[in-house]
Structures are given as structure tokens and as C-alpha cells.
Symmetry: C2
Subunit: 338 residues, 2 copies
């Protein structure tokens, strides 16, 4: 069997896996934003009846995954693997969701790039012949992330203008070996790139060079350019990071034209006081599962690149003076040709 | 193409990936244990010249990965992916190692089951046609784990008799699509099993039911029994967990005979005061990369099952009163037939 590879970093699927369904659950603030109507479900508060924000995040992830299963109408015991990840220490949102789902579970950590990473790895496992159906789910929660990475949430510490607002949300997709729906045609797993950003209130800048590196390698591997895509969406660079990634690419001779945007600039509007935009694993997962999937299914978008962006630091590494390593993972999704 | 699956949970590789090399680096206490001579390198102290234990853990992982690359004699740019994981929040040991390796990086979280998880996923990516070479690396460090999960390390809190000692060590293997070496022939990805253990000083009990579940499903899927293996080694159940897993399997009608042991009972001897045994991601990774790989290469072992065991809690989930979800991932490694 020939290797299913193009260039140095990209794999091209022989039988592109199908996205059979997608489901998104968000918190109230996300529901009030410009994409509000594109989410499958909006919670009325941040807890959803749970006793802690951490339990709530895991419940939200379970709801999204169950929603994707129900929408596809695939019996749960026909699902071979659950791939999931989140931002919490030891990815507990995913672990406790996996306990409830009782599916064979592969835990991933790619920080906010996890949705794209899950789609890439899940597609490889399906196209490689190891699974018929794979459930991918990713979550984040504003209040769990705030107190884990920054300060006690209730303290209401003033946020820097370069800061982003962690999305409370969970997105899930069910991948299948065959069926109807948009298909994942290629994937580019990223390398860690670190431009020595140490400001944990400026994640967009930390991740932008890695996103640019992955886009550059993807274009090189497939001999493509930005105009070959209807939409190229990074995960959660926010306004500052998006501008920086565009500039880095420009300096490498790549014109991103008008198709390059960022899930982190789509979720909230200026009135919602989120400064540089949205962030968190949930950000790209709910924008992809909601807005982008709808537009692919309507035929409004034919070929999309989702470039998940992750900041791979921890509170400990930041306190020890380390810079923030960034990573970007890309997957290409295409509407099925008529 | 037919699905490469047997039963509900097991995949069987069409072209079993080869373990081209393996390398292990450990701390001084591990070097003084009964397996001391089987490790590739023993550090003289816990820091290895680094300014913090966290930085030391990442350096140790880099050393193990570079050792595996050097031993295989494969140029680094022929390696398609690096798969790695560890116990630290946001898997920073792996992230910072990935920054130095500059390879396309897939971050995994399976707690102490990560070596087996990495071997399983890496094998699927190679057998699926997505990579020629994959580097798998996993680490833990006694002092980083102690202060993250329990109490300040320097405090020297008295340890419960059911507690295990986190291994300071990193193991790495280089998987190849072809070449000489033991081969990975099948893998069973585990489900989360939770028997409501809440004692964070008794991880062996928390993980034992999940290990038993995976072994049971593996046997069922491949229509095998314990005598079909020369060695079945769980990751880090320790003495208490190993006895419990054996008992759970017995009650399910499975006689594990004399081939079932645990990497956590192999690393230290009774004089080293580690109570129920060794633990940590590093435990099964260094025992596999050292002792087990040597015996496979000598032909002393023909068919081995490594069942990585993971406790999927965090300090936060434990403080919130949650029980400890367990998981077990199995890979089967066979000496190449003459």
C-alpha cells in the first residue's frame, strides 16, 4: 500500500471520512452572540444544574456528544471510538464524559486545537480501516478555565485588552466510513512553534506563528493557495492573533485574500466586551459544529480549512518563566460533490 | 477494504508495525532498583542540571526520544509524527519536548496508560498508511507528580501503605513500517471503568477493574486466554491493584496463571520503601523500553501483552468528591518469527 501522504506534513485520505452529524451546546453569553442561532442548544446559565462549573463542563460535553449520536441516528454500540479533549488539568471533562459514554476512549491534548486534532486523528483511524464510526467531542468553559489558568473567577480581575474570553461550549461530530455529509479530505498535523511570547494574556500572538506555519506547509504540500478555499478558519487567534498570522504569512509570500478568518472573532460582537475575541477548545468546536457545518451542508461553502490553534503552556510553566509554545492542526472539509 | 477489527474492541494490524528501537532514562532511585541494569541511562540526581523538576522531566523525555532516534539510526526528518503524553497539567513535559524535536506532534492524555495508548495509536497510523516512522515518548517524574497531585514534595508527607511511588523516568520507542524488531500485532483501546474508588492514595484499586475489563475484552475478541502469552504486564497497578485485577478476572472465569505481572511491582524492591509499588506514565514506558524489549529481542519472550493502566482524575475532581475513573489500553507485541 502506498503512503497516503503529500509533501512533508499532509495526509490525503483515500476514502474521505464523512461527517454524519454535528451538535453544539453553548452557554448564555455565546447564545447572545452573533452566532447564537447556529448552535444546537443554548444553556440558560453556566451550571446547567450541576454543583460545580467543572461538572457542568463535562455535562455539556456529554450533551453535545449525545446530540451528535441522536442526530446521526447511529446506535451507540456501532461507534468504535470516542476521541475527546479539553483544557482542564488531566482533561477531566473528557474523562468523566467518557465514563458516561462507555465507549473505547482515546484522550487527546492539543489545548484549543483539539477539535481539529480530533478530526484529523479520527479521520486517519477511519480511513486506515480501524473504525466505522468515531465520535469526536471537545469542550471548554469560561469559569473553569478562568480559575484554573488565571485568577478566582468570582474575583472579576480586570482583563487585558489583548485577552480573549474562553467560550463556554462543547461541540461534537460523528465521523463515518460512509454515508451522507461533508467529507474530510486531508489533514496537516502541526509542529510546535514558539516565538518566545511570554504574556499569558496574549494567547493570539503566541499561537499565530504556529497557525501560519501549518497553513504554509499545507499549501506547499498540496500545491494550493488561499483562493482554493472558500473559507480558512483558524481556531481561536482572536483579532490580534489573526492580524499577526496574516502578517507572518504575507512576509512568507502568502496572500490570504478575503477567505481567512478566525472562529475566535466570530463568536462574540463588539458589545459583548470580550476584548480580542473568543478562545478555548470550545470555540472552534462549536463554530465548526454549528456555523461552518451548516454552510457546508447548504452548499454555500464547498471547501473549508479549519486550523485549530493551541497554546501549549500551563500555569506552572508560565510561572517558571517559560514562553508559550503554539501549535496549529489543519483539516480540510469538502461538501460532497453533486 | 475490510475493517481491521476483531470482536468489539480489538484491531488487528494487516502489516504489523515494527519497534525499531527503544530507549529509557530514569532517576537514581529507579537505577538502584532490580531493573537498574536494563535502563539505557540513569541520571545521578532528580534535576539533571535543570532549574526545576518540571524542566528536568521534559529534558529526560527529550533524552529518551533522541536516544531512540539515534539507536535506530533513522534521520529525524524521516519521522512523520511524534506522539507523546505525561501526567503534568496540560502535558507540558511533552509540549516542551515537542518544541525541541520540531516534529509534527500529536499530544495524548491517558494518564499512566499513555505508553500503551501511544503504541496503539501510532501503530494504527502506520498500518493505516499515514506514516513511515513514528516516535512515541512518555514520561513522569516523582517530584513533579508529588507536588502536583499531593503535597509540596519537600514536605515529605507520610505516605499511605496503599500508595505507589511515581517513577522518575522516560521511555521512547521508534515505530517503523518495515525493518527489524518486535512487531505490534494488535491493540485493544479501553473503556472508562469506575468502581467508585475515591481514595487517591489507592490508585491500584481504582485502575484494576479497567485493566481487567480490557484483558477480558481482548481475550474475547481474539478468542485467546492467558496461556497464549508469555507475559501479560499491566502498567502500574502495584501489588494491591495486581491482586485485585487478578481477582476480578477470576470472578469473570479467567485464570491468569503465572504470566500476569505488573510493571509497578518490577521497578523497585522491598528495601526501597515504596509501599504498593511504582506508578506514573514513566513506569510502564521504561519497563517496556528496557526489560520487556530486551527479553523480546533475546527471544525469551515471544508474545507479550502490555496493558497500560490510567487513573483519569485530577486534584480538582478529587477535591470535588468525584471517584477515580480508570482505563486500560492493551497492545500485543510479538518477537519476529524466525
Amino acid at each position: 500500500m502506498d503512503l497516503k501522504r503529500a509533501g512533508n506534513q499532509t495526509v490525503v485520505f483515500a476514502n474521505p471520512p464523512v461527517i454524519l452529524s454535528s451538535y453544539s451546546v453553548v452557554g448564555p453569553k455565546e447564545g447572545q452572540g452573533p452566532l447564537g442561532k447556529t448552535f444546537s442548544k443554548v444553556w440558560k446559565d453556566q451550571l446547567g444544574g450541576a454543583k460545580s462549573w467543572e461538572v457542568a463542563e463535562s455535562l455539556m460535553l456529554q450533551e453535545a456528544m449525545q446530540g451528535a449520536i441522536d442526530q446521526a441516528g447511529i446506535p451507540k454500540d456501532h461507534i468504535d471510538y470516542m476521541l475527546a479533549g479539553d483544557l482542564l488539568n488531566q482533561i477531566i471533562s473528557s474523562n468523566f464524559a467518557a465514563r458516561q459514554m462507555t465507549l473505547p476512549f482515546i484522550g487527546l491534548y492539543g489545548a484549543c486545537s483539539t477539535m481539529a486534532l480530533g478530526l484529523a486523528v479520527g479521520s486517519m483511524l477511519i480511513d486506515g480501516g480501524f473504525a466505522k464510526h468515531i465520535l469526536v467531542g471537545v469542550s471548554s468553559h469560561h469559569d473553569t478555565a478562568e480559575r484554573q489558568f488565571r485568577a478566582p473567577t468570582e474575583q472579576g480581575t480586570q482583563r487585558a485588552m489583548s485577552a480573549q474570553w474562553t467560550v463556554t461550549g462543547a461541540g461534537s461530530v460523528l465521523l463515518g466510513r460512509s454515508g451522507e455529509g461533508p467529507r474530510i479530505t486531508s489533514a496537516t498535523i502541526g509542529r510546535v512553534v514558539d516565538f518566545a511570547e511570554t504574556d499569558v494574556n496574549n494567547m493570539g500572538s503566541a499561537m499565530a506563528p504556529a497557525v501560519a506555519d501549518t497553513i504554509l506547509n499545507h499549501f506547499h504540500d498540496l500545491q494550493r493557495q488561499a483562493v482554493d478555499y472558500d473559507l480558512i478558519a483558524s481556531g481561536d487567534l482572536g483579532a490580534i492573533g489573526l492580524a499577526l498570522a496574516t502578517e507572518v504569512l504575507k512576509q512568507s509570500g502568502i496572500d490570504m485574500g478575503t477567505t481567512f478568518t478566525d472562529c475566535g472573532v466570530m463568536v462574540f460582537d463588539a458589545s459583548q466586551d470580550v476584548h480580542s475575541g473568543a478562545s478555548g477548545c470550545g470555540c472552534s468546536s462549536v463554530v465548526f459544529a454549528g456555523n461552518i457545518m451548516s454552510r457546508l451542508k447548504l452548499g454555500e461553502l464547498k471547501r473549508v480549512m479549519l486550523v485549530g490553534s493551541g497554546a501549549l503552556h500551563s500555569s506552572t510553566s508560565a510561572l517558571q518563566g517559560e514562553s508559550i509554545p503554539g501549535i496549529g492542526h489543519a483539516v480540510v472539509i469538502e461538501a460532497r460533490k453533486e
